[in-house]
């Protein structure tokens, strides 16, 4: 799962050491993917066993940094595969002209609302949701509308859409539900916002410290607490208008040295060798085939009544105006 870490900044990761004579596949991704508890180590082992090649990850802070890094490197990029952009970024990514059609069979792919793109291949998805502490909040709001209209006593922590992916997610969620009335709705919601943090980590930290009973996160957050911490204390609130969807994708670059190997990886990505690792390391829903059903904790999660999502192009064209609108309401 992509977490916009606060100071995690512009670009950087590692360019590894080309040690072996084996064929090498270089995958640019974000840090939480390659961290010791992320999917990276599992995926690397599984794919290397299958292809007899050397899979190398180069990690940067997050999806936004990933795109920036690619823009900076341009034609000189070392990346064969870029893994970890989300659909809010794919339009701008396409504009760079650095990505090539994937050319794989999308048969394994299953994303809510369907997904069709000749360049980007989804590997996981998740819904934004407000996660609450059952010990502090007995009657959580049942819709975004309830939350907006709630009394000032209900305090939430959210993230800044200028610096954080979930923060941008909430902005789009509000826009999808309220449309032209979004500014007004933000005006009401403002009184419930205890604080706006630069990234997900800070607000989630405030939440687990008990500062706020509710925080903007993902529907999958409770699964982490149940599986890793063995507690059912934290739940996601199901909103009747539906939840905003985030889909994470990967693509091959036009500079890929071995086109066949890169395509093989993208194809592998949609199968069990990759997908099995996703739920309990990336804490997102797998977008492809897993070899076994997910942990029962995932069955208990909120099933959104509707999936909300803007097209990548709409986001790219309106982001600045929508963020400015948010700013002017929230700064009042």
């Amino acid at each position: 799962m992509r977490r916009t870490a606060l100071f995690a900044a512009l670009a950087l990761g590692i360019a590894g050491v080309p040690a072996s004579a084996q064929e090498k596949l270089t995958v640019y991704t974000y840090e939480s993917f390659t961290s010791e508890w992320g999917p990276g180590p599992v995926v690397e082992k599984a794919f290397e066993a299958e292809c007899g090649c050397d899979l190398e990850f180069v990690s940067v802070a997050d999806g936004v940094a990933l795109l920036n890094r690619l823009r900076l490197e341009g034609e000189g990029t070392e990346a064969d595969i870029v893994l970890g952009l989300d659909t809010n970024l794919t339009y701008e990514a396409k504009e760079t002209g650095l990505f090539a059609p994937h050319g794989i069979d999308p048969g394994n792919i299953n994303v809510p609302g369907g997904f069709e793109d000749d360049i980007f291949v989804p590997y996981d998805y998740g819904y934004f949701a407000f996660v609450y502490d059952t010990e502090a909040l007995k009657n959580p709001p049942e819709s975004l509308h309830d939350l907006v209209e709630a009394g000032d006593d209900l305090k939430i922590a959210i993230q800044d859409p200028r610096t954080s992916t979930p923060g941008l997610g909430l902005l789009l969620w509000m826009k999808a539900v309220y449309g032209d009335q979004a500014a007004e709705a933000w005006g009401k919601l403002k009184d419930n916002v205890l604080t706006v943090t630069p990234g997900w980590s800070e607000s989630y930290g405030l939440f687990t410290n008990g500062e706020v009973p509710m925080v903007l996160s993902y529907t999958t957050s409770p699964a982490y607490h149940e599986i890793a911490d063995g507690t059912e204390r934290y739940k996601a609130a199901s909103f009747s208008e539906g939840h905003y969807l985030q889909v994470e994708v990967a693509a091959r670059t036009v500079k890929a040295k071995d086109k066949a190997l890169a395509e093989r990886f993208l194809s592998f990505m949609t199968g069990p060798g990759f997908q099995d690792a996703i739920p309990e390391t990336n804490w997102m829903f797998p977008a492809g085939k897993t070899s076994a059903p997910l942990d029962p904790a995932f069955d208990k999660l909120v099933q959104p009544a509707r999936t909300l999502m803007f097209s990548s192009q709409e986001v790219a064209e309106n982001r600045k105006a929508w963020v400015d609108e948010w700013l002017s309401v929230m700064s009042r």
Binding site: F7, A8, L12, L67, R162, Y204, G205, N209, S221, S331
Partner: protein
């Protein structure tokens, strides 16, 4: 002629240090400028109503934070100077260096554990106001956090200035039966007044570029600083032109404030007489003693409170497991090595700059300071106001033509951390160097001691203690720094704050709290070592 010659070496050393800083900053601008040329519209569109609001808020919060940090710091520094020996004094001083090493979010969480909506003091504050306490979000939260960071810093720096008062003066004031008021006016204030503009400038700059604290405790985008806008421009919008424009605004505004601050200050001619008294003799009256201890107690509670909260949160983590983890050990080693190198480089640069400034000051006699002299002092400090993300991004663009950018990463981290810590270290050593120089310059000239032997025999004994302080400051600062590390951070260079953030970003909050505690202990340990090392000299007053 010989006099000029003896100064020239020191001036060259300072110019070399300035050159290094200049390359660091200008290189970044060249790199970003390359990209910016492709679309320079961002630079023009940066100047809008939003910028005006953001700039106003930046100045407001930084100005208030400075006032609230420095004024009480005068009282605290005075109290510490008036009572050179009491149980726990050394510990207080070391504790005062810890906030520097805490990453913003750790300090923010510590402060919220006390004053937050669910904080320790919330029930009390609720009953006081009659309604549910909603935490100190907003300007008040920002101010509390900034005072937490900067009051101890300012107090330590002002104390360092007070410690340059020759022991004879203390003795004389005691013999003349001066009360606290007279001593303050005649002995302490002149030194403080000379040091205050520098200290206030430093605090102002630290607060102006504050990021996490401002966003997290500010409560919302109303509290947006220029630093946040720069970060957004580079990271989310990828608009180098806009980032450059905003950085220049930030530098210009700060320069303006600094200029005003220095008009308020005064330059002081240090006392050239050799001190005869072995140590400070201060005999405060009982009323003053109780006042001083009251001040110290308040400051201690204020600073130690959030730290205690951090410790308590940290104790909840599985510390033995953490301490045994390979990742933690590696990160600790990486942090110590990088911070150590940065601190050492920083100390070298600071000494060079401080020596050059003093030499230039002597060369001009009583005339107004020229540009070069100002550059070696305040000019060099201004590096603090250039956001690390700008330096990092600029150099990334520049270096990518020369192969593997990430091979340069550790080098960049050390260089940027050394530059960022420079203003702190310079503040710590300048008073001692200037005072020593005032006393020894003529003697050295007469005896023909110069160059390395002069540094080793004459300057170093006086510098040793403040250098230890400066080194510890720089190291603490680099240890807690995340800004630069995250830019260049990678699987290859992973430091403790970086690891802390990584754990926090993947639900492992308890681990993060444990690492914060670890970072604090590490910093405290370094302070102990630095103090011990600094003390192994003849008493500072005997130099």
């Amino acid at each position: 002629m010989r006099e000029v010659y003896s100064r020239r070496g020191r001036i060259y050393a300072g110019m070399l240090a300035l050159l290094a800083l200049g390359v660091l900053v200008l290189g970044a601008f060249v790199g970003l400028g390359q990209e910016a040329l492709q679309s320079w519209h961002g630079a023009v569109s940066a100047f809008d109503g939003y910028l005006l609001r953001v700039a106003r808020f930046t100045l407001l919060q930084a100005g208030l934070s400075t006032l609230l940090s420095v004024l009480p710091a005068i009282l605290v520094a005075r109290a510490l100077a008036r009572h050179p020996r009491f149980f726990g004094r050394g510990f207080i001083l070391q504790l005062f260096a810890v906030p520097l090493a805490l990453p913003g979010i750790v300090a923010a969480l510590g402060i919220l554990a006390l004053y937050g909506r669910a904080g320790f003091l919330a029930p009390f504050l609720s009953s006081l106001s009659g309604e549910r306490w909603q935490g100190i979000y907003g300007l008040s939260g920002i101010l509390v956090a900034h005072v937490f960071f900067n009051l101890p810093l300012a107090a330590r720096l002002l104390l360092a200035a007070l410690e340059t008062v020759p022991a004879d003066q203390w003795k004389l004031s005691a013999q003349l039966g001066m009360g606290a008021g007279a001593t303050f006016r005649l002995v302490e204030w002149p030194v403080l007044r000379a040091a205050l503009p520098g200290v206030a400038t430093l605090v102002f700059m630290v607060c102006a570029v504050s990021f996490t604290v401002v966003l997290t405790l500010g409560g919302g985008p109303r509290a947006t600083t220029l630093e946040v806008a720069i970060y957004q421009a580079l990271r989310f919008d990828f608009d180098p032109a806009r980032a450059i424009a905003l950085t220049l605004v930030q530098v210009a505004l700060t320069a303006l404030i600094v200029f005003v601050l220095f008009q308020l200050g005064a330059t002081m001619t240090a006392d050239a007489s050799l001190p005869a008294a072995p140590r400070r003799s201060v005999f405060p009256r009982p009323a003053e003693t109780s006042f001083n201890f009251g001040v110290l107690l308040l400051a201690l509670v204020f600073v130690a409170g959030p730290m205690a909260a951090t410790v308590i949160a940290g104790l909840g983590a599985d510390l033995p497991r953490l301490a045994g983890e390979r990742a933690v050990l590696d990160a600790t080693a990486t942090s110590l090595i990088l911070a150590g190198l940065a601190a050492f480089l920083c100390l070298l640069l600071s000494i060079a700059l401080v020596m050059a400034r003093r030499s230039l000051e002597m060369s001009r006699g009583g005339r107004r300071a020229r540009l070069l002299e100002r550059l070696t002092d305040t000019g060099a400090s201004m590096v603090l106001i250039v956001p690390p993300i700008v330096i990092g991004a600029g150099w990334f663009i520049l270096l990518r033509h020369f192969g593997d950018v990430f091979a340069f990463a550790p080098l960049m981290v050390v260089a940027v951390n050394a530059a960022m810590a420079l203003p702190f270290t310079m503040r710590a050593i300048r008073p001692a160097y200037d005072a020593a120089s005032a006393r020894h310059e003529k003697l050295c000239l007469a005896l023909g001691i110069r160059g390395w032997s002069r540094f080793r025999l004459v300057d170093w004994p006086a510098l040793r203690r403040p250098a230890a302080t400066g080194l510890a400051f720089a190291m603490a600062l680099s240890l807690g720094d995340l800004g630069v590390i995250a830019l260049f951070g990678s699987d290859r260079v992973k430091t403790l704050p970086y690891l802390l953030f990584e754990r926090m970003g993947s639900y492992r909050t308890a681990d993060a709290a444990g690492l914060a505690l670890f970072l604090g202990i590490l910093c405290l340990g370094l302070m102990f070592i630095a103090t011990y090392w600094g003390k192994r000299t003849p008493d500072g007053s005997a130099t």
